[in-house]
């Protein structure tokens, strides 16, 4: 997994609540059996005026100039600023893959849907929860051209170019995995004996589960 320590990046404000995973990456792209290549289809329905599919070259499509992602000033953005309940809907990890593949490393919002939040950490992508009023302030500041936020995971802060600093919480285990880029399955397999011991005990209590 890609490690995450500190990221300073152009910040793109997406001023909508309840951005769902169907909007982040529509279903036709979920037919891909790969983990990469979803970036060009991120926010597909909002980003293009014509319909797309896996076998249609995105370069041949008509971008929607109104959509924030298509505005030249946000080219190369790596920090996404969003509103409440970001990532609601399906369990598709493809949503996180699409954001990462596009170049985003982190998304900052007042709240997230649970599964999206969980999925993010598995891919080296950092979802950050800040308070409503902090988010409001960042949306105002992010109107400035070339606005860049710094996300410092070891310090657990989001810093503005003007020197303001907002602290965020993160589960220590998740933080450790992200900072060191650890493979969670490998870590769990170090506990194989505990898993076997659980199974042996459970087989006694609930034999039907192992029939």
């Amino acid at each position: 997994m890609q490690a995450f320590t500190q990221v300073t990046g152009l910040t793109l404000p997406l001023d909508r609540a309840n951005v769902d995973t169907d909007a982040i990456i529509p279903k036709q792209y979920l037919k891909s059996i790969k983990r990469s290549g979803f970036g060009p289809f991120l926010f597909d329905d909002w980003r293009y005026l014509d319909a797309g599919d896996l076998d249609i070259d995105p370069a041949t499509r008509r971008p929607n100039p109104e959509f924030v992602l298509n505005q030249p000033r946000y080219k190369g953005a790596s920090v996404l600023l969003a509103r409440e309940n970001f990532g609601c809907g399906s369990s598709r990890e493809h949503a996180v893959w699409a954001l990462s593949d596009y170049g985003f490393r982190t998304v900052i919002a007042p709240s997230f849907a649970d599964i999206f939040f969980n999925n993010s950490f598995k891919t080296g992508f950092l979802p950050i929860v800040l308070k409503d009023e902090e988010i409001d302030a960042l949306f105002v500041e992010a109107q400035a051209e070339g606005y860049r936020l710094t996300v410092d995971l070891p310090e657990q802060t989001v810093r503005t170019p003007g020197g303001k600093s907002f602290r965020f919480d993160i589960d220590p285990f998740r933080k450790d995995c992200l900072v060191r880029g650890l493979d969670e399955i490998g870590l769990t397999l170090q506990r194989s004996e505990a898993i076997r011991a659980y199974e042996a005990r459970r087989k006694q209590e609930a034999p039907w589960l192992f029939a």
């Binding site: 979920l30 409440e84 309940n85 399906s90 369990s91 990890e93 996180v96 399955i185 506990r191 192992f210």
Partner: protein, 475 residues
């Protein structure tokens, strides 16, 4: 519990506490634990990258028998004898077949009578049992909570983790209880109950929580109805919904292919009978809903919380004080092609979809058929389709002659799968088309780019098909 010296006594536990504690392999600090997974359901969309991960790292599934696979999202619902026409869909279903072969996982293939939507077949086979932890790379895994199981959706990395280790690292969520007090009026279904709940608490209302659905109106539901309610817990933001085990649960499970038998059955039932929240158990939040207040529900917007009773009107954003919400409402109305204050029963529809893991079980088809019986679909309805949740549901419905009722009325009678719930196969809405759908998500583009979805119960969808617009089935 006010006396601190009594702390060593067993405190009252919620159902969620009991399920959680029975599955802890190791505590990991800070409320996190390594949880054992009893049942892992696998489908074609969220698993290929997980199997690739296993191969890359030279890993094998930890316990093969815990897994059960089925292709549902991409399968055609028309004639299947020629296989899948869309090459990209076919590749994904082929990948599941070959991964299951390679790793030795039991799979119900497309030609198998037991094939169907993953959340329909698990319970139907008895592969979902009370007290289990059930996971699947699909958010509607919450459905299985209807059995007093801890069931939740996971992403592909967690699919790989569950395959490789039979565990997941999870953080305990908060607990919420939604009590639906009293009896619902005649004609009110599980779908109306859960839409009314979502309308009340919002799509983020259950974020970070496991919702236990309780109360007389919930206990009165069949297992099919309970599955409909738990299915949409995710639409209220909760990763899991659960309902206590009772005789209805046990009767449903008995005799199913994967259910315990003989001595094991008695042992299992003894434990299952403890799977309810203790009297006096404390929840982090409680919501009380009066069943008698619930009317047939219809969504008007692009989020399941945008819902009103059928005798209501499309709400007016001008009356919303919160700016972000107001913009959301305006955007939804624009997308849906609706004007504020339009009476719901004047909204005309183009298509009808009866199906999905929310409402494609036998009881749902019976309810719809009862409304349809002997009538014809309205001339403005271009397509009305019924997609049973599994091959076995389809077979049962045909035995009861329900297929004839639908066909005679002008409905199409299809093969089982997810179908137009999300339109990954050929079944979808065209831009601007308006659909009465028994599915669970009305997001922009969900049923096809530019498609407009109104979520309703099977009886309401059937009634809309006949009338050509929404109607109050109580009338």
């Amino acid at each position: 519990m006010t006396n601190p010296s009594a702390a060593s006594e067993t405190p009252s536990k919620t159902l969620y506490d009991k399920l959680w504690q029975a599955h802890v392999v190791a505590e990991m600090g800070d409320g996190a634990a390594l949880l054992y997974i009893d049942r892992h359901l696998v489908h074609e969309v969220t698993s290929p990258q997980a199997f690739d991960g296993l191969r890359l790292n030279g890993r094998k599934p930890w316990r093969l028998a815990a897994n059960l696979a089925v292709a549902d999202h991409n399968v055609p619902t028309t004639d299947r004898s020629q296989g899948i026409a869309d090459p990209i869909s076919r590749t994904q279903v082929d990948a599941l077949d070959s991964n299951c072969d390679e790793f030795g996982i039991t799979e119900f293939r497309m030609s198998d009578l037991r094939q169907g939507i993953v959340h329909v077949i698990g319970p139907e086979q008895g592969a979902t049992l009370p007290g289990m932890t059930v996971v699947c790379g699909d958010s509607h895994t919450s459905t299985h909570g209807a059995f007093g199981a801890l069931a939740f959706g996971i992403g592909t990395s967690e699919v790989e983790h569950a395959l490789a280790t039979q565990t997941l690292v999870q953080k305990k969520s908060r607990s919420m209880r939604v009590t639906v007090h009293g009896k619902v009026a005649p004609g009110i279904t599980a779908k109306d109950i859960v839409l009314a709940i979502i309308g009340r608490i919002g799509t983020a209302g259950g974020n970070g929580s496991t919702i236990e659905f309780a109360g007389e109106a919930i206990a009165a539901l069949s297992m099919e109805g309970r599955m409909t309610v738990c299915n949409m817990a995710i639409e209220a933001g909760a990763r899991a919904g659960i309902i206590a085990v009772d005789q209805t649960t046990i009767d449903y499970v008995k005799g199913r292919p994967f259910a315990p038998k003989g001595e094991n059955w008695d042992k299992a039932v003894a434990w299952w009978n403890t799977l309810h929240s203790d009297a006096g158990a404390k929840f982090d939040s409680e919501v009380l809903i009066e069943a008698a207040d619930i009317k047939p529900q219809v969504t008007w917007g692009t989020s399941p919380e945008m819902v009103v009773p059928v005798d209501g009107r499309v709400p007016d954003p001008a009356k919303e004080a919160d700016a972000t919400r107001r913009q959301g409402m305006e955007r939804a109305l624009h997308y849906m092609g609706l004007a504020a204050n339009t009476p719901i029963n004047e909204i005309r529809i183009d298509k009808v979809f009866i199906g999905s893991c929310t409402n494609s079980r036998i009881e749902d088809l019976r309810a719809a058929a009862k409304v349809v019986g002997g009538k014809r679909i309205a001339s403005n309805v271009k397509l009305a389709m019924v997609v049973p949740g599994s091959g076995l549901v389809k077979q049962q419905a045909e035995k009861e002659g329900l297929d004839r009722v639908f066909l005679d009325a002008g409905f199409e009678w299809r093969e089982p799968g997810c179908s137009m719930c999300l339109g990954m196969n050929a079944d979808r809405l065209s831009p601007g088309e308006r659909c009465a759908s028994t599915s669970n998500r009305n997001f922009e583009g969900r049923q096809g780019q530019g498609g407009r979805t109104h979520l309703v119960s099977p009886a309401m969808a059937a009634a809309a098909a006949i009338a050509g617009h929404f109607v109050d089935i109580r009338g």
